[in-house]
């Protein structure tokens, strides 16, 4: 059975095309999901892709969280469906309170596109099992509001419970608290990443193929479940 991974398209989603390609290259079947349909089409996992949903008007991700598709996605995620939010998708997951914290403007106040190193901190989640803890990956960062923030207590909890998924290694590009580049919920099925693994699935078009592991990880998790 080929795992079916849904990729949601909101108005203003941009990297949905890339996320579907990454799912395909990892060996899964990408399933397009439409924001206005409260229907997950029976998928085994969901990616909320990067972009500027609703033009980032009001606040990044703040409008997308109310989309009809989210009314299905939020309870499914709480019930264990693997969900990965990348960049704008991460912002949507924070706005939907599926993940703690928030993303704010980069410390330099400018959009930053850069090939960066991240370090896998927790390799026992639905999205990182194909990596080893401590492994460093080269992926793409491209965001204007990528600085992760949370209060001190939340940051301490995240560290204590293994909810820091990945950290920036070799320099913090945007002022994120504790160098956090991605977090995961306590159950390990809902993950948010500010960098883009889907842009690092082929050395021809990205800085490496290091990002493919996030997608192969979830395929394995789905088959095992």
């Amino acid at each position: 059975m080929t795992a079916r991974v849904g990729v949601v398209t909101f108005p203003g989603s941009l990297d949905d095309h890339d996320a579907r390609r990454a799912v395909r290259l990892a060996g899964g079947l990408p399933v397009p999901l439409w924001h206005a349909d409260a229907d997950l089409r029976g998928v085994d996992a969901v990616v909320l892709p990067g972009g500027f949903s609703y033009g980032d008007y009001l606040r990044c991700g703040a409008i997308a969280r109310f989309a009809p598709v989210m009314t299905e996605l939020i309870p499914a995620a709480r019930a264990g469906l693997p969900v990965l939010g990348i960049c704008n998708g991460f912002q949507v997951l924070c706005e939907a309170h599926l993940l703690p914290g928030a993303l704010t403007r980069n410390a330099g106040l400018r959009f930053v596109t850069r090939d960066i190193q991240i370090r896998v901190e927790n390799a026992q989640t639905s999205w990182t099992s194909q990596y080893a803890a401590g492994q460093e990956l080269t992926v793409v960062l491209k965001s204007g509001e990528g600085a992760y923030v949370a209060d001190e207590a939340t940051l301490a909890d995240l560290a204590a419970r293994g909810q820091v998924l990945v950290r920036y290694a070799g320099g913090n590009p945007n002022g994120s608290a504790s160098d956090i580049a991605g977090v995961v919920n306590e159950a390990g099925n809902v993950a948010g990443l500010m960098p883009h693994p889907e842009h690092a699935v082929d050395a021809l078009t990205g800085p490496s193929a290091d990002g493919l592991g996030f997608f192969t990880s979830v395929l394995r998790a789905v088959v095992a479940a």
């Binding site: 941009l14 491209k142 021809l204």
Partner: protein, 772 residues
């Protein structure tokens, strides 16, 4: 702008009767503000002659924008004909000059459309929105051809890098491009960044877009089929940018472009405001409409808005059209017919749709939450007729506005100082010499690499998304941007833009050919076969005979060059009036060349990525320093002759690069241009993080800094040196082995050595130090 017409139109809604066709016929002597709208008395008389009466206010609005320099090309048109007259024989062109953008066959059933356009004047008035809407406008041009836009590039020129006003304009422009392009989801794959005092009041913001389509998907801007519906869709129409085409890009720019509040006769912003989110929806919506085959004809709304789209569609279809201007969805209910016609509100398109398909068309727009409205119908009358609440306010033959604008043969005269400029040879300038010669050459190289024109551009390019859509194979800082078109076969395209105002000032004919040759060489350096050309011709006032001479020489040079290289001009854009007072910018034609990769996996980058590769210098190096980066940076000098043009040598070099890339003989290739071999070596070392040791085959100063054209630096795959040398010999391309890659320094034997760390500091520090 201060449009009395606009004020009258607004007032007219309340009290004064609308200026209808019958009112116009009955009041032949009423005075009209044609001069404030940028028309001359003779042009105004010609309109009256064409119509057999004075125009209505709404008709005057149409003619004023359609006959503006920006829309009508009235000063350039007779010269631009050369691009067609001298076009090289080609069967690659599916659509050409006159369409929204040229369309080129790249094989496997795919076609590519690309075009570059200026947004110079708006970007000086309001850098952020001016540059943002420049991106939006060119993207809609590409979309209107039936293509999916796949990448953008920007050629930017500013005043001195350290001037206070540059710190206002440059960050705003870059921020605007970043905001719009990133939010729209198009990778930005390259372009140019240059500085010169001549651009201080006249920055050049040239935006290029490239799109991909299947041959069968090609769309045309034609209104055909009597009874077909005219649908306006996208953003609602507002009061922004009214008269932008006639005011901003006209001689009266300085006097009229101020902004102000609302109210009777108030001046309004002539720069439009962009909404990239709506543009993204519009792109996806259009592509779905095309896929469902619901579009008979389509036109984007850019300069001159509804006036331009309706007249061009009707003229293109050799048909007529009725339009209900009161049906246009508005953001500001107080707008009158003349304002609606001239508004340059962004993110709008106009389509011609059969009555049977109209409801499906509107349903797709609704799915993408794009406002859409049927505002008229195609007729067979040959007249463009518009009504405002039932009253006829426009009744014209559309071709008179779209095609029959005035054509001027402006006087051109070679400037008096041209000979003196050519005689001021840089040979007299001091060069490093004596015992400290090596140290001097080293310092010169570091100074050139740190000069704002040649410095690392990461500060700018890092603000652009180059990865979105996942098909970017090469982007800055490489010689050309490369985009994959077909994932299965690896078919792709390469694009480069180049311009050099210094060369063009010294000799506009040769300088334009050098810009063409450099873009052609840049594309070939990635291994792509150059195929077609677009251009953005940035000049001062055409009313100045010296500027007109520069323009005619540049056009002649480009047409002759394209013929010699066998690459047709597919379209382009002219931007005049880039001048402050009597001071025109340097003539700055920016040339874009498109090439094809049969398989992008064979592309070459400019980075030295491996050690122990032989370095070879291709082409002939002469002492050519006129207009060079060295003369400018080290001596503030601009004079003499630009490098000699040899287009046959250029073609042979490109053939070698393309063939070698296809056969896998090369590890890297970098074209030689500004800063010569010295700059190229340093850039390739820094891009790949691998050093090099070279022994120069002659005078080291000349070999390092001369800017002779038709040259490239290549790193040969170890073991393939003999094959490559044979290839060069067969093509008649001079090739000299000058060293090898490796280590962490750039060493010029017998002269100097410099660590990559020090080179990098010089190269990368400049823009962050200037712009924060």
């Amino acid at each position: 702008m201060s449009t009395d017409v606009a004020a009258q139109a607004r007032a007219g809604q309340q009290a004064v009767p609308q200026d209808t066709v019958s009112v116009a016929a009955a009041t032949p002597d009423r005075s009209q503000p044609y001069a404030a709208l940028g028309l001359t008395a003779a042009e105004y008389r010609k309109i009256a002659e064409l119509l057999g009466r004075r125009p209505t206010d709404a008709e005057l609005a149409i003619y004023s924008v359609m006959w503006s320099e920006h829309c009508s090309y009235k000063s350039s048109r007779r010269h631009l004909r050369q691009f067609a007259e001298k076009a090289p024989p080609t069967d690659a062109l599916l659509a050409g000059i006159g369409d929204n953008a040229g369309v080129v066959d790249i094989g496997q059933g795919y076609a590519v459309t690309f075009k570059i356009e200026s947004h110079n004047h708006p970007s000086y008035v309001e850098p952020f929105q001016g540059a943002a809407t420049g991106v939006g406008g060119i993207v809609r041009d590409i979309l209107a051809m039936g293509a999916r836009p796949v990448a953008v590039m920007d050629a930017l020129r500013f005043g001195p890098a350290d001037a206070p006003d540059t710190r206002r304009v440059l960050p705003g422009v870059v921020g605007g491009i970043s905001f719009y392009g990133n939010c729209l989801g198009l990778p930005n794959i390259g372009g140019e960044l240059a500085f010169d005092p001549c651009y201080a009041g006249n920055p050049l913001i040239n935006a290029l877009c490239v799109g991909v389509l299947r041959h069968a998907d090609l769309k045309r801007a034609v209104a055909t089929g009597t009874g077909n519906q005219v649908i306006l869709f996208g953003s609602r129409t507002g009061p922004d940018g009214i008269g932008g085409a006639s005011v901003l890009a006209s001689a009266s720019f300085g006097a009229s472009a101020s902004t102000g509040g609302r109210g009777e006769g108030a001046k309004r912003p002539s720069v439009q405001v962009g909404d990239p989110f709506m543009e993204k929806l519009l792109v996806e919506c259009c592509l779905e409409l095309y896929a469902a085959d619901l579009v008979v004809g389509i036109q984007d709304l850019g300069a001159a808005g509804v006036a331009c789209a309706t007249t061009e569609l009707a003229a293109g279809g050799k048909s007529g059209m009725t339009v209900r201007l009161d049906a246009v969805p508005l953001r500001d209910a107080s707008l009158g017919p003349a304002e609606i016609l001239m508004s340059e509100s962004q993110e709008r398109m106009m389509a011609i749709v059969t009555p049977a398909d109209a409801s499906r068309f509107l349903a797709i727009c609704a799915r993408w939450e794009v406002p859409a409205m049927v505002i008229g119908e195609v007729t067979d009358t040959g007249r463009l007729e518009m009504t405002w609440h039932g009253e006829r306010v426009v009744d014209i033959p559309p071709g008179t506005a779209a095609d029959d604008g005035p054509v001027y043969d402006r006087p051109a005269r070679r400037p008096d100082g041209q000979d003196a400029l050519a005689a001021d040879d840089p040979a007299r300038l001091a060069r490093p010499s004596g015992p400290a010669r090596g140290t001097g050459l080293r310092a010169t190289l570091l100074a050139l690499l740190a000069a704002p024109d040649a410095a690392d551009k990461t500060w700018v390019t890092e603000q652009y998304d180059r990865y979105v859509r996942g098909d970017t194979v090469l982007a800055m800082p490489h010689d050309a941007g490369v985009i994959r078109v077909d994932e299965a076969t690896g078919l792709g395209v390469a694009l480069a833009t180049d311009g050099n105002g210094r060369y063009c000032l010294l000799d506009p004919y040769a300088g334009t050919q050098l810009a063409l040759a450099e873009a052609y060489r840049n594309v070939a350096a990635t291994g792509a076969r150059p195929l077609a050309v677009t251009n953005c011709l940035n000049f001062g006032s055409p009313e100045d005979p010296a500027v007109m001479w520069q323009f005619t020489e540049a056009v002649r040079g480009l047409a002759d060059g394209c013929l010699a290289l066998g690459v047709p001009v597919t379209g382009g854009n002219v931007s005049f009036y880039n001048q402050t007072g009597a001071d025109a910018i340097q003539p700055t034609p920016v040339i874009g060349v498109l090439g094809v990769h049969d398989d992008v996996r064979r592309r070459l980058s400019s980075a030295f990525g491996q050690s122990e590769a032989s370095l070879m210098l291709l082409g002939e190096t002469r002492t050519e320093l006129g207009g060079s980066l060295w003369a400018r940076v080290q001596h503030g000098h601009l004079g003499g002759r630009p490098p000699a043009v040899d287009l046959a040598a250029e073609q042979a070099l490109a053939q070698v690069l393309v063939t070698a890339a296809g056969r896998g003989l090369l590890a890297a290739a970098h074209d030689l241009s500004d800063g010569g071999l010295g700059a190229a070596l340093a850039e390739s070392c820094l891009a790949g993080g691998v050093g090099a040791t070279v022994t120069l085959p002659g005078d080291d100063f000349t070999f390092l800094f001369s800017e002779s054209a038709s040259r490239a630096l290549v790193a040969v795959v170890p073991g393939r040196e003999a094959s490559f040398t044979t290839l060069c010999a067969e093509a008649g391309v001079p090739a000299a082995t000058i060293g090898t890659t490796g280590g962490s320094t750039l060493e010029v034997a017998g002269s100097f050595s410099v660590s990559l760390e020090e080179l990098g500091r010089a190269h990368r520090g400049t823009l962050p130090a200037l712009f924060g």
